[in-house]
Amino acid sequence: MHTGFPWVTVLGVIPLVGVVAIMLLPRAQEAQAKVVALGASLVTMVGSIVMAIAYENDGARFQFTQDYNWIKAFGAHYAVGVDGIALALILMTTVLAPICILASWHDGDRPVVDDEADEDARAGRGPRLFFSLLLATETLVIGVFGALDVFFFYVLFEAMLIPMYFLIGSFGGPRRSYAAVKFLLYSLAGGLLMLVAVIGLFVAASHQLGTGTFDYRALLAAIDSGKLHLSHGEQAALFLGFFIAFAIKAPLWPFHTWLPDAASEAPTGTAVMLVGVLDKVGTFGFLRFCIPLFPWAAREFAPWVMVLCVIGVLYGALVAIGQKDLKRLVAYSSVSHFGFIALGVFAFTTQGGSGATLYMVNHGFSTGALFLVVGFMATRRGSRLVDDFGGVAKVAPWLGAVTLIAGLSALSLPGLSTFVSEFLVLLGTFTTHRWFAVVATFGIVLAAVYVLWMVQRTIHGPVAPAVEGFKDLSLRETWVIAPILAVIVALGVYPKPILDFINPSIEQTNSIVRDHDPVPSVPELSQTNQVDTTLNIDTGIGAPIGSSN
């Protein structure tokens, strides 16, 4: 089953070629690793854009597919392909990757002055290792988004941890080993639950279908046609296995505490990769696996999941308000945002799902921008504490301006990309679970509080003595941040291209759990003569006007 040009494989291989090229560099020229990495990621980006153009919005559900037997013994395939959701996320990944690499330009350098013991401990570090790991991460993420085989997905899902562990553990901040180990163990714990569920799914499938398979499309078709009928208990258990793994990855409250540590200790570019790209695998997993494979469990658990999401939205925002460390603040804001994303996913409406997917893309750019500007400031000041800043905008106006814009995108200012997605999520939730949406909406007020308070204390106000020597954005930093901000504005004004290929996939995903979106209680004027049949949503206050007249 192969359709079209094997884009996913090609995109996954290009960064790997970069890795090999970097490994072949002699030590004397190891600084060239940056250039090679940047080149490879740029080529990948161009490739993914071409793929997006070649993608047919109203074509087959999965396009550019490839399918080879991998491990015959238990029906594992090398099966890849993209639907609109995966395509959007791959696009985001490949666009963010060169930005991350450019942002990490000096993060992989060997420390010039370092005591001997530390030099020993970091013997392996150096730009070659750093950029190889970044490129490897990119390959794995593309693979995860493109995988159409449950087992293949699982393998890549776990493999992603490896380069990220070393990136944090070898190149991170002072508490890097704590953060890296916490990240690894937490994710592994979730991954093991998922492994149990993956095996359980295989066993259930082999019982009912005769031959077990990990082929996602085959499983989907079998569930759709009723050939594979999982009992409610099975669905619940398997759903939870997948869900907890993805909830840790995403992360949803209360599985979030690894994120602030990992994100604040990771080097800036890595943090962008981690929070912006890697964590999307969690929310992507909800859409790809939790909902279509276990529709009954998804419907059954959705209200509970949404409770977690709403708590996460408010909790993340409130804790972000109280943070003293800039990077932790951004990390907690992400916890809040992931609550929104999952909320949209589990609303099972087209608006919610499309909004959530768009939110995943936008959050990558928005939080990426925030991490980057915080990184810029932290590099200059040598501290991440809010109290150590003040009046940055006066000294370095461009730095202040980009910080403000990044912050505004985090608080979903209309006109910036995050607004469209956040509003769609809330709207999609509102139509089915009114009060969840209402409570979650307060999160946008809290978002304004943490962003603006941070802005007030760092870039506004009197110039702090240590800030006086700040240089404004360098050329490299400008090239790092400008494309992201441009994308944020562009997608805020014109999100149609992305939405156009997300929509059909979301509709197909949701069609498994829900017959149709809720219908407005008052039909449009052209239909006023029809009988008002679908009053499934209303406030419950008062009677129709017509009756009181």
Binding site: L318, F423, A448, H460, D532, D538, T539
Partner: protein, 649 residues
């Protein structure tokens, strides 16, 4: 119930000159982009570009206005221009369209006209500021967002403009962001507005679930079709009102406006007097079709308007800061407008009328205040002024026009608009009519009092400015816009009311004016009563303040009510006690809970595993004999188990 059974709302497609509507927004947007992204390169000519863009928009607006008048009445005057599809999701399609109709053209003319004047004024006012280019960029951004707000043809795009002006307001209040007070005021303005925006966004969601669309025509037709529940419509109305309260600084979300005076004075004139703060009135007027079927919501609009009217007036009496007095006055005047639009179909036009005249005379006075500050080293305390009419004659004259307009003196513009509101309130009938009417008349008296107080303390009496301050008249580039606005303050009211021209013009947008058979009190008598009350206010002010020299310092010990008034009726204290402090405790507690509670469980689990293994580790003593003992014990255990299983089976 006053269900308007008008024909379904239908917008014509924009043709000809109306195809330029999008340029109205685009021009200032381009200006903002060039000035904000251009950097220092644009310093030399930035302010000129900044002025050219709103003037360009104004020219287009004037052309379109006359083209609009040239068309027949009725729905042909509502012209929709499709730009692009903005959010296309199944079931939820939102297009980026611009709608030009009589209501929006009124606002467009006000925004671009007054806006252009204030831009020109700013050339002089901001001359010595190193960041003048940024100022013009952000001012242009505001104009673009405000035009987007009034030109939107659906609630979501309106929401974009709504928050866009909030952003511009945030940026401009915090223009001198190195001042902590400015940075805090900017943040406060944005946050309070966000609370209001919550209401607006809920309203939009509720509209979507009710009508399946957020476009004006769809929602209005749905509302007037009578199929929606009254409760739903009331909810939408109240939520919209919440949004309007935030943006228009109405009770209970009024507290940000006084702090917003930290911004440069032209900003106060444009954003916090003439245009942005009136967006709430626009929203209510625009959503008339919804309020028509939600009488409870409409009553609350009236109440909010009435309360704020009085509240603003009281606050205005207490402050010594000239800008804050004007800001309080703005609150109070917007209260009038809210009161008017709360009265329903016939009164929308009157609310808009007051909005337009207020836009002129309040901008005029703010610019005058700016001129006074400009000449007094940016001093805002009126107790440091006194007798300025001699040194700043032009400023005094223009300010006086604004003063006369706001207290409602014949034949200044305020007389026509305010008188109409009082008339409508009393004509409304019933207890509420009487209450609101009396409140409106009392408000007029109080307005006269605090504005006279301001005039007396600033331009009359003894000279109290410090020795190193040498008040001087402002440059011409500032005086000319003031003069134009002063002229507007004089004639605009009469022009607009002439033959009910504005009311007729606005009919396609807000419905026809209600023909009232009999007035509760005849208009002439009412005017005389009102003028008498105003005269009383002026006299009281002269009696209390004008007769004796003004002290250079505020009296420290005053009665509690005066103290509360000086603290803007303790609004800030309430906010602090109810929201800020509990919020701070909550966040601190949650941060603690997150570190010790949620993360504590995670780390505790890890520590538990680590501790257990550390303890189990001790079993590895290194003594071979211990290991051998465990081996033998294990062999014994396994063997015993096997034997027992054999025996058992």
């Amino acid at each position: 119930m006053t269900s308007t059974t008008t024909a379904a709302v239908q917008y014509a497609h924009a043709t000809g000159v109306f195809k330029l509507t999008f340029l109205l927004i685009l021009l200032p947007a381009i200006g903002a982009a060039v000035l904000l992204l251009g950097g220092k390169r644009t310093n030399a000519w930035g302010h000129l570009l900044g002025c050219a863009m709103p003037i360009g928009s104004f020219v287009i607006a004037v052309i379109e206005f006359f083209a609009l008048i040239g068309r027949d009445g009725g729905e042909n005057r509502q012209l929709d221009q499709h730009l692009f599809s903005w959010v296309p999701v199944a079931g939820f399609h939102v297009d980026a369209n611009v709608l030009l109709d009589p209501l929006s053209i009124c606002f467009v003319l006000l925004i671009t006209g007054v806006g252009s004047l204030i831009h020109i004024y700013s050339i002089g006012y901001m001359e010595h500021d190193p960041d003048r280019r940024r100022f013009f960029g952000q001012l242009n951004l505001f104009v673009a967002a405000m035009l987007l707000l009034v030109l939107a043809d659906n609630y979501l795009v309106l929401y974009v403009g709504w928050e866009g002006v909030g952003l511009a307001s945030y940026l401009l209040i915090g223009f001198w962001h190195h001042k902590p007070s400015a940075a805090v005021a900017a943040k406060k303005a944005f946050l309070v507005n966000r609370v209001g925006d919550l209401g607006l966004s809920f309203a939009v969601m509720l509209m979507f679930t009710t009508f399946g669309t957020v476009a004006f025509d769809g929602v209005f037709n749905g509302a007037s079709s009578g199929h929606a529940r009254t409760g739903t419509m009331t909810a939408i109305g109240l939520l919209l009102l919440l949004g309007a309260c935030g943006k228009s600084a109405q009770a209970p979300l009024q507290s940000w406006l006084l702090d917003a005076m930290e911004g440069p004075t032209p900003v106060s004139a444009l954003i916090h007097a003439a245009t942005m703060v009136t967006a709430g009135v626009y929203l209510v007027a625009r959503s008339g079709a919804i309020y028509d079927v939600a009488p409870h919501a409409r009553l609350l609009v009236e109440i909010v308007g009435g309360v704020t009217l009085v509240m603003g007036a009281i606050i205005g009496c207490a402050y010594d800061d000239i800008k804050k007095v004007l800001a309080a006055s703005t609150m109070s005047q917007i209260g009038y407008m809210m009161l008017a639009v709360g009265f329903g179909p016939g009164a929308y036009a009157i609310g808009i009328l007051h909005l337009l005249t207020h836009g002129f005379f309040k901008a005029n006075m703010f610019l005058g205040a700016g001129s006074v500050m400009h000449g007094n080293n940016d001093e805002v305390n009126m107790r440091r002024y006194g007798g300025l009419r001699h040194v700043m004659p032009v400023t005094f004259m223009t300010f006086a026009f604004g003063y006369l307009a706001i207290i409602g003196m014949i034949p200044f513009s305020g007389f026509f608009s305010k008188d109409k509101i009082i008339e409508v309130a009393l004509d409304h009938g019933g207890a509420s009519g009487w209450i609101f009417g009396i409140v409106a008349i009392a408000g007029a008296g109080m307005t006269a009092f605090y504005m006279t107080r301001l005039m007396l303390m600033t331009f009359f009496g003894n000279k109290r400015w410090p020795r190193d301050v040498h008040p001087h008249e402002s440059p011409k580039v500032m005086l000319v816009p003031m003069a134009i606005l002063a002229a507007g303050s004089l004639v605009l009211g009469y022009l607009l009311i002439l033959g009910g021209s504005l009311q007729h013009f606005l009919t396609p947008s807000v419905g026809p004016s209600l023909e009232v058979g009999a007035h509760t009190i005849s208009p002439v008598v009412l005017s005389i009563i009102t003028l008498a009350v105003v005269a009383g206010g002026v006299g009281a002010a002269w009696w209390i303040i004008g007769r004796k020299p003004v002290a250079a310092e505020q009296a420290p010990n005053v009665r509690p009510y005066a103290h509360a008034t000086r603290r803007s009726l303790t609004g800030d204290a309430v906010n602090e006690a109810v929201f800020m402090r509990p919020g701070q405790y909550l966040t601190r507690a949650l941060v603690y809970f997150d570190n010790r509670g949620v993360d504590g469980i995670v780390n505790g689990f890890a520590a538990g595993v680590g501790g257990t293994s550390a303890r189990i580790r001790r079993v590895q003593t290194g003594f071979v004999r211990s290991y051998a003992l465990s081996m033998l014990g294990g062999a014994l255990a396994i063997g015993t188990t096997v034997v027992l299983l054999r025996v058992g089976s």
